[in-house]
Symmetry: C2
Subunit: 420 residues, 2 copies
């Protein structure tokens, strides 16, 4: 692996070696939010590097969001990556390394920064692109014979998610109030959710926009994707059960969706490209894939009760997905739907064949029947004070390409409507 | 009715008398988009009036969107309305009327302006709040015994719509491509939609934002609503049928949603407040309404084939809704979903008891079986070149409060994916 002169960047266990260079938005006590890349145990301040004339053109790195840069497209993304690699590599040029004053300004220890939402989320769409999850959750709700709806093997099924509550890792998540079926089954009651769940997902971030009326091939869609994030699609199963017909999930998913602070680019994930799940049926030609657009990335999730110890509750892999990210984007644009720089496409829950790889508690407990063991306890669903942490990485021979943490703590519900 | 000195404002048939003062965003050949109010056959340029010192405080009227003003809240909205009324009333003050040069700059003939989306749409949620429509469409799909899902009488059902394709009246609508069940029923094909439909809706526009985790009473929600627009939720019924289970509509609704250029305020609609549809069952207390939050507004829809004559195909009324706009907003925020200035809440299709009042072709043709007669033809669903025009108004004794036109022409589908 090519080495960096920045501290921590060559450690085997770091998420952020020179080959990664994920993009995010950070602030310090001295200065407000701006764009940066993670390198070892530091953030390289892209606004400072741009101001020093070390980066090409105007990429909008002094803004508190990556949207401007993301809209510039693959040629510019590659140009910036190449330049950053030269600045940060041991065998690179000395333009940054040789300027101690600039290093002091532009390399900020990760321990001293606060991370923000990396981009303004212009739209959030949540797919259902994992076959094992679709089969498991369909089996729990409708039985194994009707688990997959007839459309499922033919197209990536999705619903529009709620954009206003996509938040960055570390944001607490308040247990939602909602209508749920009452204990006697004779009518709904207003209640805090009692079946609060996670969903382990992989989020694709659209960079290059398309206009209303435009469509995309899968190869074009691949080029338009800027990068990827970890995504926890928090879900209230009791609210979802009662509200979900006929129009799909709404309040059950609208209270929070957490993403990792770092967007890992396609270029960084290139070594981990792989084939996806075998096809049940041939897809229509508009979903044809001229290359392998899936990834071999490990995703782990830990649950830590307040004051307790963390237990790993999920270990899964993004290669368990059935539809690739560019297939999601191609299908999304098929009707002529305009796609914007900042659109977030969740994969849907990623479950593998083993129980330990099931990506949500609904599946792990098989509908709330079989508790998940914890270090010093067990869970059917989340309790107040629980912190859920997702991590993810591609494993190279002597390095990993990671996403940082994607976590959130559950706060107790508000006591009443209107009591803010 | 209080009279205005501006041309056309006192005509019985104008949508825009002094009592209306709807807000929008307009441009001229000489100057880019900025905020205005319609008065008679003119637009009063709010940026120009603010620059002349005739409006209170900084309302952001020089921006190409109303969001800043909408977020300022009811006290400021009322203050601006009172000031505009004084400037434009026959018996008002002379600050504008007496300044010929300012009149020349600040009163622009409607015939000379282009209208834009009135606000940046931060979120679009489409409800299903009309009982007759829910019953009709449920009957067509599932039969009359299972027409309403059990949750329907207890809460406003909704799905998140697609924000990127909410467009202003006059924007052409390209017929979408999509997956539909093939003619033999043995698998899906890629095809332009053959069942392109309208949905006559009423849109509420959120002004005052709420934070993630906050909830709202219905009375609070009412105060947070800035105003209302006409809304046509274009729908592809064949795509919807195939994709709709289990997660609800997605591509079938994502290609376009058209709104009127003018946002009519709560204050302007005050004379038309009324009760809604009788309740099937008592609602949970969080949906209690301390006042009448429905409106008596006529909504008409005309269909005009290319080169042909327009036929009125729908005449309905917003009082046919079952859930009021503040009930929609209260339910939306119930889980702690953050609501933003610029969130658009569609009512869902508004149908009355008579066939002529059914608000979409699916209902009017009862699932595509019984054509709707046109002047010189008939329709099951929309054809290329058809223009659909929605209008709406509250009828006073000698005036009406209207929304202007909400229209769009159907363009032929793209020939292929990737052929832009």
């Amino acid at each position: 692996m090519r080495r960096s002169w920045v501290g921590g960047a060559n450690a085997a266990e770091t998420d952020f070696p020179l080959a990664n260079l994920p993009f995010g938005v950070f602030s310090t006590t001295a200065e407000g939010p701006r764009c940066g890349v993670a390198i070892g145990d530091h953030v390289a301040d892209l606004a400072a590097l741009a101001a020093a004339g070390l980066l090409p053109g105007d990429c909008g790195f002094d803004a508190p969001a990556l949207n401007t840069f993301m809209a510039l497209g693959p040629a510019r993304w590659d140009e910036v990556r190449t330049r950053l690699t030269a600045l940060l590599a041991e065998d690179g040029d000395g333009a940054l390394r040789g300027d101690a004053a600039l290093c002091g300004r532009a390399l900020v220890p990760l321990a001293e920064v606060a991370m923000h939402l990396p981009f303004r989320v212009t739209g959030y769409t949540d797919f259902y692109a994992g076959r094992q999850h679709a089969f498991n959750s369909g089996s729990i709700l409708r039985g194994p014979d009707n688990a997959l709806t007839p459309n499922w093997p033919h197209m990536p099924i999705a619903y529009n998610g709620r954009t206003s509550t996509v938040v960055v890792s570390g944001t607490p998540v308040r247990r939602p109030l909602g209508q749920v079926m009452g204990p006697d089954g004779d009518g709904p009651v207003l209640s805090p959710s009692r079946r609060l769940d996670i969903e382990v997902e992989f989020g694709a971030v659209v960079g290059v926009p398309t206009r209303m009326g435009d469509t995309l091939t899968v190869a074009e869609a691949w080029e338009n994707i800027f990068g990827f994030v970890l995504l926890n699609d928090w879900s209230a199963r009791d609210i979802q059960r009662w509200e979900g017909q006929p129009l799909g999930p709404f309040q059950a998913k609208a209270f929070a969706t957490t993403i990792s602070p770092w967007v890992v680019t396609r270029a960084a994930l290139e070594p981990f490209r792989t084939k996806g799940w075998p096809r049940d049926k041939a897809l229509l030609p508009y979903l044809d894939e001229p290359a392998d657009y899936f990834f071999d990335l490990t995703l782990e999730t830990h649950l830590c009760p307040k004051g307790g110890a963390a237990t790993r509750i999920v270990s899964t892999n993004t290669r368990h997905l059935y539809y690739s990210a560019p297939q999601l984007l191609t299908h999304h644009a098929l009707c002529g739907c305009a796609m914007n720089a900042g659109d977030l496409l969740g994969s849907g829950t990623i479950s593998g064949p083993e129980k330990s790889s099931f990506g949500c508690l609904l599946e792990q407990t098989w509908g709330g029947r079989d508790p998940v063991p914890l270090d010093g306890g067990e869970r059917l669903f989340l309790e107040d004070g629980d912190t859920v942490t997702m991590t993810g990485w591609g494993q190279g021979e002597d390095y990993r390409i990671g996403f940082g943490r994607c976590d959130g703590e559950i706060l107790p519900a508000r006591p009443n409507v209107g009591a803010n």
